[in-house]
Amino acid sequence: MSCAIHARDLRFAYPNGVVGLDGVDLHVGHGERVAILGPNGAGKTTLMLHLNALLTGTGTLEVAGLRVGDDDVRDLRARVGLVFQDPDDQLFMPTVREDVAFGPLNLGLSRPEVEDRVARALEAVRMSEHGDRAPHQLSLGQRRRVAIATVLAMEPSLLVLDEPSANLDPRTRRELIETLDRIDRTMLIVTHDLPLAATLCERSVLLSAGRVVADGDTHELLEDAALLGAHDLELPEGFSLRSLPAWPRSRPAASASGP
């Protein structure tokens, strides 16, 4: 299907010699929701930047039906939406509404269509009444929701989020998880918030030192304390995977919406 990721032997080193990706093989199918777990410096963000050709390494990478490096990056960026970790990096326009409109306008859509998409995207993250505010007047949780809206408005077939729950208080975090859970799209969530991964994603990929070291059912992966420990990860004390309902959950069939 068109919104899958196929990465084979993806390698990337930063100019200062630090290895970001060291032969990543990853295959994500249409409609899947996958958590990318891993300690700091594992290459999670590097991988994410590759999905939009903001960094390009060696190996082959096919995203949403396009070969990264060969096909047009504009098409790629229209199909793959990145939500950056710090919403202050993502929200650079003077008002929320203009920021959400930035992507659709770059896609060359007509004004009524842009207005419509802005309204729907803000509605999806429950920020409709804040359209005319400046990003710096919003709380972190609100800014993060707007950042998600800026990408939703481009109607990408694949949504990639970098640490969506970082620095959020528990209640804001729960609201964000609920917001994400309602979004019906192929989704890659880069995080080291393991309970979030367990709540939202059926499948998880564990990245460490630029390689995929585990790939499978999220609950099985998170129950393997030895594996997690070997890669500087652990579940919060007192958190029980059994408290979550088992997969498959009743969520709208993702295949219904993607183009």
């Binding site: 990096d89 993502q90 650079f92 003077p94 203009e98 992507g103 896609l107 990003p135 007047q137």
Partner: protein, 247 residues
């Protein structure tokens, strides 16, 4: 209402096209700075125009004063020395002796400064900053300058927050400089701030590319120059240019 806008947002002035306000208020400033002292009725006309605009927009004198006092004292401070240093016919001013020509220069400089500052304050009070940027862009200001101003507006507060956090972090560890040598910590703060801002710039650029940035700022809203805008500019031009020509 946006916090940077004051007065009644439904007033005829607030609803004018930002381009009309920008041109009109810049026009008032230009007339004031090009008017010599003996043509003082032109200053009166400028002041009257500003007062009319302010009252139509229901911007209170208190608001005008609160915003003008950030700029005005600096300008007047520079001007206040002129009567003492300028050579000319001496005039006794209590115990002080100043020159008459110097006093005249001070009066003109002050009038120009006050009118210029009030024009800018009124523009800011009746037009949101994004609208001013939009107007500048449509009036063919170089795109790069408009972009720089837009990013400055967006990130100023973010950077100020960072400064406040760094200052708090210094203070929390007992930093209280007593002499100049201890100020080097402030230099490190400035360095760190520069590097953080630089890195943020790179991340913002990536985020812009990820959303299809095409080297120009796309605009959602269009500006509409209506009859009211033309009338506003025509009335202003007639009043000011007549006063300037007759004076």
């Amino acid at each position: 209402m946006r916090p940077d806008v004051a007065g009644d947002p439904r007033s005829p002035i607030h609803r004018l096209d930002p381009r009309a306000k920008l041109l009109g208020l810049t026009g008032i400033t230009l007339v004031a700075v090009t008017t010599p002292l003996h043509a003082w009725p032109a200053y009166v006309a400028c002041a009257a125009a500003l007062l009319t605009i302010a009252s139509a927009a229901r911007v209170t004198p208190a608001t005008l004063w609160r915003r003008a006092r950030l700029v005005l004292p600096l300008v007047l401070f520079v001007g206040v020395f002129v009567p003492f240093v300028r050579e000319g016919d001496p005039v006794a001013l209590g115990p002080l002796t100043v020159s008459e020509q110097g006093l005249q220069t001070f009066a003109t400089v002050s009038a120009k400064a006050i009118i210029g500052t009030l024009s800018a304050v009124l523009l800011g009070a009746t037009t949101s900053f994004p609208d001013v940027l939009h107007a500048l862009e449509r009036l063919k200001t170089p795109k790069l300058l408009v972009l720089i101003a837009a990013f400055m507006y967006r990130y100023l507060f973010t950077i100020l927050d960072e400064v406040a956090r760094m200052r708090a972090a210094l203070a929390a560890r007992g930093y209280a400089p007593r002499h100049a040598l201890q100020a080097q910590a402030l230099g490190r703060v400035a360095t760190a701030l520069f590097l953080r801002s630089y890195e943020r710039g790179e991340r913002v650029h990536q985020a812009m590319l990820a959303r299809g940035w095409r080297e120009t700022m796309p605009r959602l809203d269009t500006l509409a120059f209506a009859r009211a805008d033309a009338l506003f500019l025509a009335a202003l031009a007639t009043a000011l240019l007549t006063a300037r020509a007759l004076a």
